[in-house]
Assembly symmetry: D2
Homo-oligomer: 425 residues x 4
C-alpha cells in the first residue's frame, strides 16, 4: 500500500475505508492480494448491478476484442452501438411507450447531468434549475451547483450559481424532520412562481433523483413526484430524472420511477448502464427537446465505448423476462426485513430503514457510529459504505445477481458489526 | 444507418462526416460493415496512439478479464492500479525528476480540467483563471468557461465566468494575424497585473495547451511558454498544462512540453493514457499543491478503470526505449514535408503547415474548403477531421504505430482529395 | 407637456399617471401650472413626511444658504453635519439605547442597501443574502438582486445573483395566500440551514423591510421578525432592516420596528431623513460591524449634503415630544377606519385593508381596477399610487403633517373615485 | 471633531486628509470653524464647477424655495424640470446636433452608470461590457464591476462579473508604461472579437471616460477614442462616455470629448450638472436606444430634484457665451505651465504633468510623497487630493470660477508644499 501513499494523490478516499489491495473480483465477491475474500454490498457505488466479471459479459467482451471490434468510436456509427441502441429501444423504451432519443456524452454521471441541464436551458431560454436538498448530481461545476453536500460544494472555489434548492419529498420522513417537504412544499413553491414579485425566476428544469442514493437513500413519494411533474409542466420547465444510481434494475424495475405514471422529459443514466464497470453514460431525451441540439454542440471524446455497448447489451438481456426483477424484489424484501429486525432489536425510534428493491439503508442517525460499523464490516469481510448528511446512513447495494448465500452471510456479518459498534459505544 | 437516425440524438456529429457503420478496426485501419477499409488519420480524436486493437493490449486485457481482474474499483487500491502507478512513475516521472502525485477522477478530459481548476482555486484562494484564445478544455461548465469556441460556449445556457482569455503565443503566427500574441503580450499582461488599478484580479492559474489541437494545431513557442511560467510563478498562480491531446508521445516525446525547461504545477492527461480507447484521465500534481485536497473532496464513479490501467501500462512500455519516439519523429517529418510540398504546389502564401511530431496540420484558411477536402478524403478511404476557428484546418493525427505503407498511402489520398476540392472550387 | 415628450426619456413613469405640470407645493397640496390644486396622498413616494416646503425647513435652509453654509462636503467634517449627527444621536439613538454608528453614502436608498450588503458580506466572509418575496430594495445591481418585482429584475440584463428569496411573514395574510409564510416558514428555513446537505450556504445577512411599502404594504408580524432575528443571530448572519420608506415617523413611531424588542445590526434609511426632499441616505451600523470598514472603502460624491443635514435636523425636532407621533396615530386610525368602511360597503371578502400609522393601503386584488381608481383620484384632485404585485394595492402615504381638513377631503375624494371605478366596471 | 469620531462610521475618509470642521464656503474658499480660510483646488470632487455658494444660484434657489417650488417630484412633470430640459437642449444639445433624450435616475454618478449599462445590455441582448484600466465608475455592484481600483473592488464581497478590462489609450503614456495601450491595443482587441474562437463574447458596450479623473488624470487620445468608437459600432455595441467628472465645462468645453468627431450613444453626467452641490444625475441617450425602455422600468426616488434643476439651469447660462470657457482655457494653461515648471525644477524624467483645461495633475510616481504633499498643502491652506494607482497623482480641479488671485496663491502654496515634502524625504 506504500506505493499508493507515495505516488497517488492525497485525495484518494474509499481506500481509507478499505485498507487493502484488491486483486480479483467475481459476482459479489472481491479478493485482496492476501487472499481474503469480501462480500460486496457496495458494487462499485452501484455500477456493478450484474456482479463483478459477469460471465456473460466477459465472454461477449473477449469475443468483441478478439474480433477487433471498434472499442472507441466517438460518435461515429458502429455495429456495437447500433446493437445497443436497438436492444435498449426494444427492451426498455418500447414497452413503456417512451419515444425518447438516446444521447451519449462523456461517460460519467456528471457529464450526463451537465448535458441535461445544458439542453433544458437551451430549450427554455431560462437559467435557473430547481434541485433538491440531499441531492447528488456530480462534481463538475454545472452538476456540482445542483449537488447539495457542503463538503463537495466548498471545494468548488467559485460560487455555484443558477440552482435553487428546495426540500426533497421523502415518502418516509426522517425522525423529527422539519424541512417541510412533501406536497405542501410543492404547493408553496407553486405559489411563489405564480407571484411575479416573489423574486424567483421561472425555472429551466426540475432536477430530481426519484431515489436519492448518496443523499441517504431517500425515496421520493409518488404524490410528490407527480406534484413536481405537474408544476414543471405548468411552468414550462423540463422534468429531469437523475436515475444514475437507482436506475438499471436496482429497485426491482428498470427505472426507479416505473409504475407511477411519470413522464420525464430527460432521464440521465450512467453507472450500471455499461454493465461491466467500463464507463458509459446516456441521456434519454424527448424528441421535441432533442431537436434543439445542433450537431456536435456538446461533445466528449469517450462517447462511443464499444466494450460498454457490448456488455451493456448483455445487461439489457436480463430484462427480457421477469426473473431478475423478481429476484431483486425477493432479495430486497429480505434485506429490508433484516434491517427492520435490527431496528427493533437495537434502535426502535432511533434507527430507520429506508430503500426500495436492492437499495436498502439503515439510518443510524450518527455519522461516527456509521463509520465504526462500516469499519467493523470491513474487518469481518463485508464491503459497504455510508451516505447521507454526515455519513450517518449505511447503504447496501449488492450486485443484483448476488447469490442467496452471500446475501445472507453479508447480512449476518452486518448484524455482528453493528452489535460490536453499539457495545463499544 | 436508419437506426441511428431514428433512435439516437440529433446531436451526433462525426457520423455526419463519416456516413457509414464501422464494424472493426486494427492499428491504423477501420473497416465498415460493407467491408470498405479506411486509413485512420484521426485515431479517435487522438486517443488511439497505439492503434486500434493494439495486439499487446488486447492480450493483456483479455488475460486480465479471464483472471477476474478488478475492472472497476472507484479509488480503492487494486493491483492493476498499483502496476500502472509504478510504471508511470518509473517510465515517465522519475527520468524527468518530476515528483508529481497522480490523481484520478472521472475518466474524461473535461473532468481532469475541472479537477485541476478546482485545486488551483483551492490552493490560491483566488477565482479567476487565465486561458488562451483557441483553447479547448472540455464541455462541462467549469472547463467550458476556459474553452473558446463560441459554438460550444453559446450552448452553455448560463454565463461562463471566472476565466479571462488572452492571446495564445504561437511559434508560427497565422498569415495576417493581429491578435498580438507572443512574449510581448505576456509583458503587457504582466504590466496589467502589476497595476492594482487595472481591474484584473490576481489569477489562480494559467491554463495552457502547449499545443492547441482542437484550436487549429497551434504550437506555442518555447519563449512564450517560459514567459507564461515566469509570470505565473511571480503572481503566485499555478501553471496548468493541458496535455490531453498532445501528450502521451504524440509529438515525439512523452509530454508535448518536454525539453524546454518547463515545470508545470499540474498536468492534465486523458485520451491516450488509457491506451486501448477505454476511458482514463489523470492529473499530475505537485505534492505541495496536492496536499490541499481533503480525502474524497472531488469524487467520480469511474476513477478506477482496471482495463485502462492494464492497457495504459502496456502503452507506457513503448517508452522503455526510444524506438517509438524516433519513429514518431521520422514519420512526423514525412508528414510535414508532404504538407509543405502541398503548400508549395497549391497554396504558397495561402496555406500553412503547423504541428509537431505526428500531429500535423494544413491550415487551408477556409472552412468550406476544409470540409470538402475531408469529405473527399472519406470518399477515397481516408479518415481525418477539421479543427480551428470555422473548421479551416485539416488535422492529421494517425496512430503513432501506423505502418509506413498506410502513412504514405494516406498522404497520397489526401493530396488527391485536396486537388479535387481545389479544382471543384 | 410636449417638451417632456420631445426631450425626456421614454422611461418616465409617474408623469403618465399624473398628466399635468406641477408648479408649486405646500404641505399636503400640489398645484399645477393651470392652478388646479391636488391633495397629496403620495408625498413624493414617502419622502415628504413633513410636507412640501415645510415652513421651518424653508427658513433653516434659506438661512443656511445665505450664511454660505457648506452645501456639499463629501465626507469632510462640517458644522451642519455635526449638528445633524448630534441631533440624531440625542433624539433617536440614545433614547433607544442604540449605539449604532451613522454612515453616509451616495444619497439614495439603493446606495444605502448596497452599502449594507457590502458590509454584511465583508463582516461574515459570506456571499448569499436572504431577502423576501415582495421586497423592494433598489435598482442598482446589488440592491436589485434583492428586489423581487420581475418587471424591474428583467431589465437587469445580467443574472441577479447571491440572494435567496423566502416568503415574507405578513401579520395579515392576503386572501387565499398559499406562500407559506409566517413563523413556520422560518422554522423550515432553519432546518435547511442546519442541514449541511441542504444545498444552502450560510447567509451573510437577512435583509428585511419590517413593512414592505412598494411590495403592497405588507406589515411583518412581530413573531416573524423575532424569529428571523433569532435565526440570523444563530447563523452568524447580520440582520438588516430596510426602513427607507416606513421609517422616519411614518408609522407613528420613528422606526417602523420600534417597540418589538428588535435589535438590527444595520438599519438603512433614506427618503424621509433629509426632510425637505433633497437627497440623503444613512445607515445605522453596530460598532462591532462598522469597524470592519477601512477608510474610504465605499465612497460616493454626494455623501455630505448640507441642505439635507439642515432640513433633516429640523425634521428630527418633530420627535422632541410626542405631538406629531400622536397625530400620526390618530390620523392613521382615521384612514384605516375609512378604508375598512369602504371594504364593508364595497368589497367584503374581496378587498383588504393593510398598514400601520399613516401608511395605509387598500388591496383591491385587481391591478386594472387600482389603476382606474388612481386615475379617477387624479381627475378629482387627489394624488396617490398603486403598489404590490401587478399594482393591485392602493397606497396612501400623505405627509404626516397633513391638515385634518385635507385628510378628510382626500378620503372623500378616494371614496368617490372608487365608487366611480366600481360602477364603470 | 470628537463628535464625528464617536458617532460617525469609521469609513469616513476625506476628513482624515482635512482634519478640521468646515463652517462656510464661498466660490474657491472654504473656512473652518476656527476661521482659517482654505483655497479649494478640489471643488467637492469636481462637483462645484461654479464655486461654493455661487451667487446667481443662491439667488435662484432661495427664490424658488420662497415661491414653494416643487423641490422633490420623482419623475412627474414640473416647471423647474421643464426649464432645465429646455435650457440643456438649447444650450448644449442643439448646437452640437445631438438629439439625445435626457434621462434622470437616482442622483449619483454610480446610478447613472448602472442605468447606462442596463440599457446597453437591454438594447443589445448581450452581457459583457468593456471598461478600461484605471477607470472609475462608481461603487454599486454594477458600476463597481467596471471600476478598476482593487481597494474598492476587494470590498465588494461578491465576484464582479460581466466586465472585461482593457488598457486605456492615454495621449501621454506614463514613464515606462508597458500596458500596451493606444490604437494598437484596439486593433488587437478587434482581432480577438473577429475570431469566434477567442473566448470573448460580443460586448454590449464600451464604457469610457474620455478623461480618467480618479484614475490619475489620464487623457485619452483622440485617435484611440475614435478607434474605440469605430470598433463599438462595428461590433454592434454601444459607446458610453462617462463624463461625470470631466464634463460640464471642466476641460474648457462642455463635454470633455467635444471637437473630436465623436458620437457616443450614451453620455453619463452627474457631479457638476446640478451646479450648487445638490445631487443630480442625467444620462443622454440616443432616441433609437432610449425607446427600448418601458415606463418606470428603472426608477429611483430622488430623480426629480427641483433645487438642482434650478441651480443647474443657472450653470447652463455660463455656456450662453464663451467667456467662462475662455477663462477655463486660460487658467488651465496657467496651471499646466506652473506644473511643468515644477517638473523642470524638481523632477525632470521623474514627475509628469497631465490634464486638460482646469483638470491638471502632477504625477509624482510615489503615493507616500503625494500624501505628504497633500498634507503639507492642507497645513498651508490649500485643499487638494491625490488620485491614480496608489494615490501617486496630485489632482487640481478648482472651481472654474476661481479668482485669479486665489489660483495664483494656490499654485504658490502647492510649490512650497512640494518643496517641503521633497526636502523632508
Amino acid at each position: 500500500m506504500k506505493v499508493f501513499e507515495q505516488l497517488e494523490s492525497d485525495i484518494r478516499g474509499y481506500c481509507r475505508l478499505y485498507p487493502t489491495v484488491f486483486k480479483s473480483a467475481s459476482n459479489a465477491r472481491q479478493v485482496d492480494e492476501a487472499g481474503k475474500s469480501y462480500i460486496d454490498f457496495f458494487a462499485g457505488a452501484g455500477v456493478l448491478n450484474f456482479g463483478h466479471n459477469n460471465l456473460l459479459m466477459k465472454k461477449a467482451i473477449i469475443e468483441f476484442i478478439e474480433a477487433d471490434g471498434v472499442a472507441h468510436s466517438l460518435d461515429t456509427y458502429t455495429t456495437a452501438k447500433r446493437d445497443f441502441l436497438e436492444a435498449f429501444h426494444k427492451t426498455i423504451l418500447q414497452p413503456r411507450g417512451m419515444n425518447h432519443k438516446m444521447q451519449f456524452m462523456g461517460p460519467t454521471g456528471t457529464n450526463a447531468v451537465e448535458t441535461a441541464l445544458k439542453l433544458a436551458r437551451k430549450v427554455t431560454g431560462r437559467r435557473t434549475v430547481v434541485a433538491f436538498t440531499h441531492g447528488f448530481h456530480g462534481m463538475t461545476l454545472g452538476a456540482l451547483a445542483a449537488t447539495t453536500n457542503s463538503y463537495f460544494r466548498n471545494a468548488a472555489g467559485v460560487p455555484l450559481e443558477h440552482v435553487r434548492h428546495e426540500p426533497f419529498g421523502c415518502n418516509k420522513p426522517c425522525q423529527g424532520c422539519t424541512l417541510g417537504c412533501g406536497v405542501g412544499a410543492v404547493d408553496r413553491l407553486r405559489s411563489l412562481y405564480a407571484d411575479s414579485s416573489s423574486g424567483l425566476e421561472p425555472p429551466a428544469a426540475f432536477l430530481v433523483e426519484p431515489i436519492q442514493a448518496e443523499g441517504g437513500v431517500n425515496v421520493a413519494s409518488k404524490e410528490w413526484l407527480l406534484a413536481i411533474q405537474t408544476l414543471a409542466h405548468d411552468l414550462g420547465a423540463l422534468l429531469i430524472f437523475d436515475d444514475i444510481q437507482a436506475g438499471c434494475g436496482r429497485t426491482g424495475q428498470y427505472f426507479s420511477f416505473d409504475g407511477m405514471g411519470l413522464d420525464p422529459d430527460i432521464v440521465t443514466l450512467a453507472k450500471g448502464i455499461g454493465g461491466f464497470g467500463t464507463p458509459l453514460a446516456m441521456n434519454l431525451v424527448k424528441p421535441e427537446h432533442d431537436k434543439h441540439w445542433s450537431p456536435g454542440e456538446h461533445t466528449g471524446t469517450f462517447r462511443g465505448q464499444g466494450l460498454s455497448f457490448v456488455a451493456g447489451k448483455v445487461g439489457l438481456s436480463y430484462f427480457d423476462n421477469d426473473d431478475l426483477m423478481n429476484d431483486v424484489k425477493r432479495k430486497g424484501a429480505q434485506m429490508q426485513e433484516h434491517l427492520e429486525g435490527l431496528v427493533e432489536t437495537f434502535g426502535s425510534g432511533r434507527f430507520q430503514v429506508r430503500g426500495k428493491g436492492m437499495m436498502q439503508a439503515l439510518d443510524l442517525g450518527d455519522g461516527a457510529l456509521a463509520k465504526q460499523v462500516a469499519a467493523n464490516c470491513f474487518e469481518r469481510g463485508l464491503l459497504l459504505g455510508a451516505c447521507g448528511t454526515g455519513g450517518k446512513v449505511i447503504k447496501m447495494i449488492p450486485p443484483l445477481t448476488i447469490p442467496d448465500a452471500d446475501l445472507s452471510e453479508g447480512l449476518s456479518l452486518f448484524t455482528a458489526a453493528l452489535q460490536d459498534a453499539l457495545e463499544a459505544a
